[in-house]
C-alpha cells in the first residue's frame, strides 16, 4: 500500500491520510488490495454521483434513462476492470471519470436497444441518495441552458466538494453538541474579518465577542482543512490539490459569465 500520510501540500502541513484515488490507483493491479480499492472507488462514486447523473441528463437523456445509464456506468466501472483499461496518466479522478463516462455513453448509445440495461444490479438507491444529499446549488437560468454537459459536470463536482466539506463540518459541530454554533457561524465562513459584525453575533449567541472571533476563526480553518481533504481524495498527488481547486473555481467562473 502506497500510503501518503503527511504529504506536504502547497499550503503547509497537511494531515492527509491515503487519498482514495491514490489507493485505487495503486491497488488496481494488486489482488489482495482489490477489495479495498473497490470500496474506495464505490465511495467516490457515491460522493460524486450527481455530477455523473447531471452529465448524462445534460446529454439529453430522460430522467429514467439517465438513472439507468448512471447505474450502468457505476456497474461498469465497479464490476469490471475499469482502471486497467483507463488511461491512468490522466491523473485526476474527476477527469478520468469524465473521459470514461463519455466513452461509456458512446457505447451505450449503440447498445441502447440491444439489451435491457441494469441487469438487475441496483447500485444506486436514488431516493436514499437524493434524500441524503439534496443539491443545494442554484444556477442562473442562462447557465443551465447554455452550458455544455462537461461544464455542468464540473459545476456539480465543485458544488459537491463544497457541500461535502460543509456537511462534515456540520457533523463535527453536531457531535459536540454545538450545532447551533455551526448554524449561526457557517454563513460567515466566506466573510472577511471586517465584514462580520461580531457585536451582533455576540448578542445573538450570548457569547463574548472574543469567543465568537475565536470560534469563527477556527471554524474557517477547519472548513478549509475539510475542503482540501475532500479535493485531495480525488487526486493522486496531494500537491495537486491547489491546482484542482483552481480548476474548479475556474469552472464556476466560466459557468457564470
Amino acid at each position: 500500500m502506497n500510503g501518503k500520510n503527511g504529504h506536504k501540500g502547497a499550503g503547509g502541513p497537511h494531515e492527509f491520510v491515503t487519498t482514495r484515488w491514490s489507493l485505487i490507483l495503486s491497488a488496481a493491479n494488486v489482488t489482495n488490495e482489490e477489495q479495498k480499492a473497490r470500496d474506495a472507488l464505490a465511495e467516490l462514486c457515491r460522493t460524486y454521483w450527481r455530477s455523473i447523473f447531471s452529465f448524462v441528463r445534460a446529454r439529453g437523456y430522460s430522467i429514467e434513462d439517465a438513472q439507468d445509464l448512471t447505474q450502468d456506468f457505476f456497474v461498469a466501472i465497479l464490476k469490471n476492470n475499469w482502471l486497467q483499461h483507463a488511461d491512468r496518466n490522466r491523473g485526476r479522478f474527476r477527469s478520468l471519470l469524465l473521459r470514461s463516462l463519455q466513452n461509456f455513453l458512446i457505447n451505450a448509445a449503440e447498445k441502447t436497444h440491444a439489451h435491457k440495461r441494469g441487469g438487475g444490479v441496483e447500485f444506486i438507491s436514488w431516493d436514499d441518495w437524493m434524500a441524503e444529499a439534496p443539491s443545494q446549488l442554484s444556477v442562473p437560468v442562462q447557465a443551465l441552458e447554455s452550458l455544455p454537459p462537461e461544464r455542468i459536470f464540473d459545476l456539480t463536482w465543485a458544488t459537491t466538494v463544497v457541500e461535502h466539506a460543509l456537511q462534515r463540518l456540520r457533523e463535527e459541530c453536531e457531535s459536540k453538541g454545538r450545532l447551533w454554533l455551526f448554524q449561526a457561524l457557517s454563513a460567515h465562513l466566506t466573510d472577511e474579518r471586517d465584514e462580520v459584525s461580531y457585536a451582533n453575533l455576540s448578542a445573538e449567541l450570548g457569547m463574548a465577542e472574543t469567543a465568537v472571533k475565536k470560534q469563527l476563526h477556527n471554524m474557517r480553518q477547519r472548513y478549509r482543512s475539510l475542503l482540501r481533504d475532500e479535493v485531495s481524495q480525488t487526486v493522486e498527488d496531494p500537491a495537486d490539490v491547489d491546482d484542482e481547486i483552481r480548476y474548479l473555481c475556474a469552472s464556476l467562473a466560466t459557468g457564470t459569465e
Binding site: S138, Y223, V241
Partner: protein, 660 residues
Amino acid sequence: MTDSDLRSDPLPSATREHTKCEKCGATMRLDTGVCVSCLLRKGLDGGDEVSQAVYQTVLAEVDAPHKSWFLGNYEIFEQIGCGGMGVIYRARQRHSRRIVAVKRVLSYRADSHGALQRFRREAQAVASLDHPNILPIYEVSESEDGLPFFSMKLAEKGSLHENAASLRHEPRKCVQLMAKVAHAVDYAHSRGVLHRDLKPGNILLNDRGEPLVSDFGLAKLLDGNNDLTRSLTTFGTAGFIAPEQAGDAGADLTPAADVYSLGAVLFNLLAGRPPFLGSNPVSVIRKASETQAPKLRSLAPSLDRDLETICARCLERDPKARYQSAGDLAADLERCLDGRPIVARPVSPPARVWRWSQRNPKLVGAATAGLLLGAAAVWLAGSIVDALKVKLAVRPPAHEQPGNREYDGYLQGLFTDVTQPIEVSSIGNSVPVQNPSTPFTVPDYGSPGSLDPTRPDTRLTDAPPTTGSTSTVRNRALEAGQTTNKITVDVTAAPPATVSTTSVRSRALEAAQPTNKITADGPAPIQGFVKDAKGEPIKGAGVRIESRDGKHVFSTVKTDPKGRYVSEALQPGVYRVTLLVNGTVKASITNTQTKANQPTQMNFDLKSPVQTGYTAKSSKKHMVWMPARTGSHVGGSWVEVDDEGNEHSGSNIRTYSVRR
C-alpha cells in the same frame, strides 16, 4: 422541508437571480445564499491546518453545549428548512414558551432598503389573514442586524410534500385537503393577496392533519425592484408555477396563477409527480408553456375521470381557460366528493386546435395551407364528378349561439344529394340541409390574424359569398325552442356561453339530473317527428338507426300518418340516425348519444329558406379544421369556436365529414 428535496430531478435548481457575488463575481450559490466559488476559494487560503481533534477542543471551549441562540424574542433551536428567501428555524418564544417556526430573511437577499420596507409592510398585511387553513403569522420583527424575520405556527406534521407518499393512496383525502386549501387561497384572493408559490412544501399539516397554507403572499411580497422576483425557490419548484408566472416576471398575475398551482399540487398528490418533468426547472417551465399537461389518468388510471377534468382545467395554459377563482375549484372538488356532477368540462379537441393556432399563427400558416388546398382539391373533384357524398354529423348538443350565415352557406353548398331545403333539429340542435344555390366562399370570421389559415379562404373558389339563400339555418336556439319538445328546455336553460356544455353529462347537470346516478343500462328508443315546412308529415319518410360507421343497421322505421317515428329500443350508446324519403338519404346524423331508460328525441323539420331568417349578429367566430382520416374517409370537420376556443353549436352545422 427544504426546497431542494422537493425537486423531482436532482439537478441544480435554476434561478433568474443575477446577483453576482461582490467578492468573486460568480453567481452560483447554495440555497443558503453562500457563494459556492468563495467557499471553494477558501481552500486556497493560507493558514494552519486544523485537525479534527484540535477543532473538537476549540468547540468544547464554548461552555454551552446544546445551547440556543436568540433572534429577537425567540430562542432558536435548529434549522428546519431553507428556501429562496430565508432560513426557517424551530424556536421558542421567550415569554410564552410557545414553540414556533421563525423565518429569517437571508442577508444577501435583503440588499435594498426599499425591499425591506416592502417586506415589512406586506408581511404585516399577510399577518392579517385570518383563516383556519392559513398558517398564522404571529409576529413580524427584525433582528439586531436590521433584517426582518417573522414567527409563525409550527406545523408539526410537516408539509404535503413529506406526507405525499401516504396521501397518494387516499385520493379522497387528497381532494378533501385540496378543497380546503382552495378555499383558503380563495379567501386570501378576496383580500387581494396572491400566493404565487403554492407547492406541496408550502402546504403544511397541523397536528389534526388539517392543511395550513404557508408563506402566503410572501413570494409576491418579496418581489421588489431588486429582482427578487424569481427567488431560488420559485424556480426550484418549477413544476408548480403557472406558465405565465415564469414567462414574465413583471406580468400582472391573476388568481388564475394560483389556481394553476393548486391544480399542479393536486395532480402531484394524485399522480405522484408534478404535471411536468424536465432536466432542469427551465425545461420544466418551457414544457408547461408549450405543451398540454398530461392527463391525470394516463398516470393513475384508477382515478375518477372528474378529477382528471378538474386537474386539466386548472392546468390550462391560458389563464382564462382555468377556473376563474380558487373558490370555483373548491366548489368543483366538493361536487366531486359528493358525487355530484362537476362544472368543468374536458376541453374539446377543436378548442385545443384553436388555442394552439392562436399561439402559433405562423406555424399554422405553413402547416395548414397545404391542408386547405388538399381539402379544396378533394371537394372540387367531388363536385365535378358529382360523387361527393355528404354526411351530416351532429355532436351531442350544447347551448345555442348565433352563428354565421355565410359559413352556413358554405356548408350547405356541399349537400348535393338533398333535393329540397330541410332542416333537422335534434335534441335542441338543428341541422340545416339544403341544396346548394350558388358557389360560395368562406368569409372572414373576424379571426385575430388576417392570414389565419385555420379557416377556409377564397382560394377555394372565386365566387362571392352567398347570403340570402343560406340564411335559413340560423337562429337555431329560437327554433329549437319551437320545434323540439322537452330537450329544448335544456337548451334554453343553458348558461351563457362561457363553458362548453356539449356533453350529455353537462346537459344532465343543467337539468339537475346527475348522470352518475344512472347506473342501469336499460334500452330506450330514438323517436321524434319528420315534418315539412308547414309542419305536415312527409309521405314516404323513414328513419334508419345505424352504427356510427354505418355498417350495422339496428332499426328501420317508417313514420306514422302523423309523421311520428319510434325506433326499436336501443342500448345506450352512440348511433347514426339517417333520414330517408322514398328511399333517398336526406340527412344522416352521426354521434347521436342515447341515454339509458330514456327515449332520445330527434325531430326532423324540413323548412324553406324564407322561414328562418338569420337575424342574430355574429359575434366573433372562427373556424377550426379538425383533420381526420378514418378508412376511406378523407377530410375532417370544420368546427366553429369563439375567441376563447370554446366550441359551440351555434352554427348548427358544427361538424361534417366528406366521404369519397
